[in-house]
Amino acid sequence: MIDFEKELEKFSPSLEINEVEDSILNSDLTDMSDILRELLNEMEEKR
């Protein structure tokens, strides 16, 4: 049985067009390559 209130909470407001800039700035663009690079740098520093 679907609980209307709980289901409603899962819906979040959508961003407006003028919020595109904020959305881009807040995007986390870290990928696996970045993590790997970081790990390698740490290893290098420890040496």
Partner: protein, 441 residues
Amino acid sequence: MNQATDNLYDRIKKASNWEYNLGLTKARERDLSNAIHHLQKALRLNKHNTSARNLLGLVYYELGEVVEALSQWVISKNLDGKLNRADHFLSQIQAKPNQIENANQNIRKYNQALSYASKGSEDLAILQMQYVVSRNPNFVKGHQLLALLYLHKKEYDKVSDSLNKLLQIDKKNAVALRYQEELKDIMQSSRKLRRKEHQLTSLRKEEEIKPLVYRENTGWQIVVNILIGLGLGVAVMFFLVFPTINQQTSKENRKLILEYNDKITAKENEIEQLQAQMGSLEAAKVAAEGNLEQYTDSSSGIVAEYNFLLQAQTEYMASHRLEAFNFLAMIHPDRINDPVFLSVYQNLREVAQSDGWRYLTDAGKQALNQQDIEKARDYLTKSLSFTVHEDTLYSLGYALELMGDIASASGYYQQAIDLKPNSTSGKKAKQRMALLQTPTQ
């Protein structure tokens, strides 16, 4: 080590491409939710996977998520500026500014609908969402919300419509599938319930007891029935309806009476206040009139004083001494503050005090001889107001004696005696006093 690292990078890129391919396949199958899932994974492995990012933007755009789509294409262009397909997508959107504005409006209405729904105004939310999905039929989130609202309002046919539209855009949308399941369960339960009710109804029909034979009333019985009905109706009107109407009317009348009472009281208060004002205005008027009279009374007002002075001065200038001093004696200098007036008055008074009084005394004596006692008294009193002379005192005493005012006459005689006992007037005064004191036989 470098080679190992390079191998690692290569493997990461391959994994990213593999996820991209999966995402592409899903997108082609219209399984957009899962396409997003794989494309995001591709980008977490390699953010420079431009194809994955551009496709992700496209998928978002197809789902009506314009802001997400724009974000991905802008990021794509920034990470990889060379011959990027994102340019094409962005310029397509920029070429239609109305499209962006419409998209923005839809987003706002969606957010507003969400707000209405969370506050319990589901009907308003539904109206908003109907508008939004009509203008943006691909807006999956909008269809989801609308379906949920219809489900809550038990408008099951509309739920079905929304979900069907949604699933045409995104075939395996998890939320839509869940709602569909819910709807199926509800419909099934409803069918079972209807079947049971149907069975019960059938059973009842079989067990139905046949009613007694019913015969129509005829003739006078119909008339009697009608009369009874009318009587009942009248009774109901009389005992139920009219009292209620009367009560209502009385209530309204009472309310009106109270309102009018309040108005009357307010008016009465106003009248009282106005009357009080009138009273004080009357008093002020009387006082003002009194003041005015003080100034304008011809016999005793200030104007009269100026008049007397003017006449005294005029008569004096015309050498009519008696008339001048007569007028002068009528002046009340304490009523006047005007220094010019007082100066003129004082000058004339000094003259009257020195020898002007004689004119008045002589006029008084002459009046006595002529038996005009009133005139004599007047002149002699005025003369005394300037100078007290035994001659004037004696003459006035004599005038009063002739008028019958013995006490006053004695008083003046005594004054004359006290002033100059050996003068002619003093001696005359003594004689008169002696005569007055002699008892009459």
